[in-house]
């Protein structure tokens, strides 16, 4: 019988817009290239792979630019399962730049730890490829594929330091929980497919809740799917893997996970929410509301206790995730949809800049101090003023203090929420406001170490900053300042109209 179904489907090969998928192609090519090169170069010249990876990332950026300037703004393939629009381009660019910065961060770290460089960068590129695909996916299948594509390499990267028990543990936890979550998500997807009869998000959107009535199965499916990505963005209570993994993984990988893969999760979430079930907001709005509230709160409270800088950043990134979720909690109510999407995109961009910058500083400093404890930052300003100021800038930005990038991100979030104007909206706005103050508790604590504490055991050797890290730092700091002082440069991204098929359109 099933054979008869297959028989009934006429086969015609889909039209492929190569310009549209050029970035993915470049990345795929790059992956193969690196694998090949890695085979033939001697151990001493493995660093070539690093630069290759960097070039591949930048190379993939080129078609994105051409796409951005090209007149036809929306390109769809496989009857709407794979879409390249303004929104997708913005985030692809984000992933690529973030990936590039991570390469810069990794270079010395991986080199000195004589890890398997070629494989490392291969996996990194693969993961980035998955993200780039995620930005365009408009179909349950492609979303799932992209998700696994970016996750599986990430699992391995997390466990990269083979001899290090912590690293292993980090990998395993990340892996098991990740797989578990995606399994649950898949179950939800299957239910969704069952009730709507399609895996295409736009169709799901149009078939879900034909005038609002729907049964428990839909609710179950939606919830499970949302949970799958709530795990990716490490929203409380699906965050439990994040601190351990972040602490255990190599710091550059942590940076990558906390920025890129989190962003990917949000991209999927946004696509699902806006394209998949725009009319089912009764289900996901309250759910995301609760997630956002407890995420930012718990993240902050737990961060207050941390003494390890990386672990602290893990929790801080969790609470930041809560702030990114905040606008989505009202994304379904009237005029708020547009600003909410915009807020999320802007927040992702700014967050990438400042968080990567933060990690860059931490990596640079830890090269000298050889310690992850916050107290090891004592007196940084006195013996490395530049790094001290940079760290201050990133911290202040994370805390959302004008005129640094972070404030415009938070501002956008608040604006979106208040635009909705409902009681729940005001409630979460106030919760966010209070949290943004609490957050300064630990950011300010680090600043205090940097500025006001004496250097521990007279540690005043000047910190040597490798060129790659200098590059990374400059990129991120420029981004942070630029976004903050001239927010117009990014606020134009992520207008609702660019997200094809929103509201089942």
């Amino acid at each position: 019988m099933s054979s008869s179904i297959l028989a009934r489907v006429p086969w015609q090969s889909p039209a492929i817009d190569y310009h549209a998928i050029a970035p993915e192609i470049v990345l795929a090519g790059g992956i193969c290239l690196i694998i090949l090169v890695d085979l033939f170069i001697s151990e001493s010249r493995k660093w070539i792979t690093a630069s290759l990876a960097g070039f591949v990332m930048l190379g993939a950026l080129l078609p994105i630019l051409t796409l951005a300037v090209s007149d036809s703004d929306v390109r769809t393939m496989f009857d709407g399962r794979y879409v390249v629009d303004e929104f997708a381009l913005t985030l692809k660019a984000l992933f690529l730049v973030a990936g590039y910065v991570v390469v810069l961060l990794s270079q010395n770290h991986v080199e000195e730890g004589d890890y398997y460089q070629g494989e490392y960068y291969t996996l990194l590129l693969t993961s980035v490829t998955g993200m780039v695909m995620m930005a365009s996916s408009r179909d349950l299948v492609s979303i799932f594929v992209a998700l696994e594509f970016l996750s599986i390499p990430a699992y391995m990267l997390a466990a990269w330091r083979k001899r290090d028990r912590k690293s292993n543990e980090a990998g395993v936890k990340y892996y098991l929980l990740g797989v578990f979550a995606s399994a649950v998500m898949l179950y939800g997807m299957s239910l969704l497919y069952g009730v709507t009869g399609s895996t295409l998000l736009s169709e799901i959107g149009s078939r879900l809740t034909v005038e609002g009535q729907f049964g428990g199965v839909e609710a179950l499916g939606i919830t499970f799917v949302v949970i799958g990505f709530a795990f990716k963005v490490s929203a409380v209570p699906f965050h439990s893997w994040a601190p351990d993994t972040y602490e255990g993984a190599p710091i550059p990988v942590t940076a990558f996970l906390s920025v890129a893969s989190k962003a990917a999760g949000f991209v999927a979430l946004v696509t699902l929410v806006y394209v998949g079930f725009p009319r089912a907001q009764d289900v996901w709005q309250p759910f995301i509301w609760v997630l956002a509230a407890i995420t930012m709160t718990f993240g902050n409270l737990l961060a207050l206790r941390q003494s390890n800088i990386v672990r602290l950043l893990a929790y801080s990134s969790i609470s930041q995730g809560g702030f990114i979720l905040m606008p989505l909690a009202v994304a379904g109510t009237g005029d708020a949809a547009g600003p909410a999407l915009q807020a999320v995109v802007v927040y992702l961009l700014v967050y990438a800049a400042m968080n990567l910058g933060m990690f860059a500083v931490v990596i640079t400093v830890s090269r000298t101090t050889r310690s992850g404890e916050i107290s090891s930052l004592g007196g940084l300003f006195s013996y490395a003023p530049a790094l001290g100021v940079l760290m201050t800038i990133f911290l202040a930005s994370l805390a959302g203090i004008p005129p640094l990038g972070g404030w415009i991100a938070k501002f956008g979030a608040f604006r979106a929420v208040l635009e909705a104007g409902s009681g729940w909206a005001y409630a979460i706005a106030v919760i966010g406001a209070v949290n943004s103050v609490v957050a300064f508790g630990y950011y300010g604590n680090i600043m205090r170490e940097v500025w006001m504490k004496p250097a521990p055991h007279g540690e005043t050797t000047t910190v040597r900053t490798p060129s790659s890290l200098v590059a990374a730092l400059s990129i991120t700091v420029v981004g942070t300042l630029l976004f903050g002082i001239l927010p117009g440069t990014i606020m134009r991204f992520g207008d609702l109209v660019d997200l094809t098929g929103a509201f089942g359109g």
């Binding site: 179904i5 594929v145 578990f180 069952g194």
Partner: protein, 99 residues
């Protein structure tokens, strides 16, 4: 129609899998349980695709099977890694980091 029973079977498998993940300490067993969940998903998809009369479900199922294989590969590699470093694959001993 039979699809309902298939769905019920899927649900049962799902629950068993969940139980396995939460209850078993042995990493390999946990992997197995996850496989159970994935297969319950496959069952669902196939049943639904029959009911909806569309091939999407089948395709989806194929993708899942393929990717699940890759996942398990990675998973087993990691379990081996753990085993090499600490001569055990009991998950409840993995608590280097907490708090």
């Amino acid at each position: 129609m039979l699809t309902t029973q298939f769905l019920l079977l899927g649900a049962v498998l799902f629950c068993i899998g969940i139980y396995g993940v939460l209850a078993r300490k042995n990493a390999v067993m946990v992997l197995m349980s996850i496989e159970l969940i994935l297969n319950s998903v496959n069952l669902n998809l196939l049943a639904f695709s029959v009911r909806n009369g569309s091939v999407d479900g089948n395709t989806f199922a194929l993708y899942i099977i393929a990717i699940a294989a890759a996942e398990v590969g990675v998973g087993l590699a990691m379990v081996l890694l753990i085993y090499r470093n600490r001569r055990t694959i009991a998950l409840d001993e993995l608590s280097e980091m907490k708090g």
